[in-house]
């Protein structure tokens, strides 16, 4: 994974069938980048479903969650509508896995993103990262702690 402290590399990917999203467009908020292997994994244990339930907590920390997998924008659209997600899913589809590779979060053997999490601050600096063991949904405790620490840091500095 990329080291903590560097500027998160910018990229642009489809977030809907006709819209692209640039990382640098997400200004003045923290960003949680969640790379995950595939849309349509079993629902109750699914990482994105869990994050979808947490919108309130992300909002509290002024953080925007962004999911990324190698699935196409059409798969993302159907997956997102099916689960009523209200956060963008980005399609790292063509060239396949390019952004995941850039973030050192690509599983070459499976041709999928790994379960890698990054928390990025308002200045686009990587502040926290976590790579989950294969097949294990990382949950949310790490992300929440990282967001909280960032908020505390800002309070101390101001």
């Amino acid at each position: 994974m990329l080291p903590i402290g560097i500027i998160a590399p910018d990229f642009e990917l489809y977030s809907t069938p006709d819209q692209k999203l640039m990382l640098s467009d997400l200004r003045n908020q923290k960003i949680v980048l969640a790379f995950y292997p595939a849309d349509w994994s079993p629902v109750c244990g699914d990482q994105m479903s869990l994050y979808s339930e947490m919108q309130k907590y992300f909002a509290k920390h002024n953080a925007q969650l962004v999911g990324i997998s190698v699935d196409s924008k059409w798969s993302h659209l159907a997956f997102s509508e099916h689960n009523q997600f209200h956060f963008p899913l980005l399609a790292d589809f063509e060239p396949k896995g390019a952004v995941a590779r850039m973030y050192e979060a690509y599983n070459e053997k499976e041709g999928e993103c790994r379960r890698a999490l990054y928390v990025i601050d308002k200045n686009r600096i990587i502040r926290w990262r976590y790579l989950s063991p294969v097949g294990i949904n990382p949950g949310a405790d790490g992300i929440l702690n990282a967001l909280e620490q960032l908020d505390n840091l800002i309070k101390i500095q101001s």
Partner: protein, 179 residues
């Protein structure tokens, strides 16, 4: 190792012997089919371990995919105000496919709740807050799916479907008793 945060306390619903050596905590969702499948397994574990076990249920409703999960959780909390949390917990799991409001009220009557009081209690903000607090504690504790289990404060990552959880608890119990 992920720890249960906060630890079991007086706000929890605790079933069984408070001094039991084994403390099993479930984060569950009343409308989740996996939790429904776990329900008889937990009953069986409670029966087999008897006084050696205390069981705690905390709410982790995935409201976006299970539209009745949150209101069902509030209903069990409302039943708790009349001293019948576990009775309601049971019938809600036993009827987890039909948790619309009118059914919830019918279930409440079958466990002997005073209907007027129950319906008023359902509106209590404090009960919804209790369910949300449970959910948040789950997030803090690393709950990543339902059901998730904690044994004596530590997250249990193993399988639970075919006797594995009972076996694990029995092994834990043996090691505690030997020491």
């Amino acid at each position: 190792m992920i720890q249960l945060t906060p630890a079991v306390n007086s706000h929890d619903h605790i079933y069984g012997n408070l001094q039991a050596q084994i403390e099993l905590v479930e984060y569950g969702d009343y409308e989740c089919p996996y939790c429904g499948a776990a329900y008889p397994i937990i009953k069986d574990i409670q029966q087999k371990l008897g006084r050696q076990l205390k069981f705690v249920f905390r709410n982790f409703p995935l409201s976006k995919i299970h539209p009745h999960a949150f209101s069902a959780a509030v209903a069990t909390e409302a039943a708790g105000l009349q001293g019948k949390f576990w009775e309601m917990h049971d019938v809600v799991f036993e009827n987890q496919k039909t948790l619309e409001k009118e059914n919830i009220i019918r279930l409440a009557e079958t466990v002997g709740l005073l209907p007027e009081r129950f319906e008023i209690d359902l509106q209590q903000k404090a009960l919804a807050e209790k369910v949300e607090k449970d959910f948040e504690s789950g997030l803090r504790s690393g709950v990543n799916k339902t059901p998730s289990f904690f044994v004596n404060g530590e997250k249990y990552e193993g399988a639970w479907g075919e006797g594995q959880l009972l076996q694990y608890l029995e092994t834990q119990l043996e090691s505690i008793l030997i020491v």
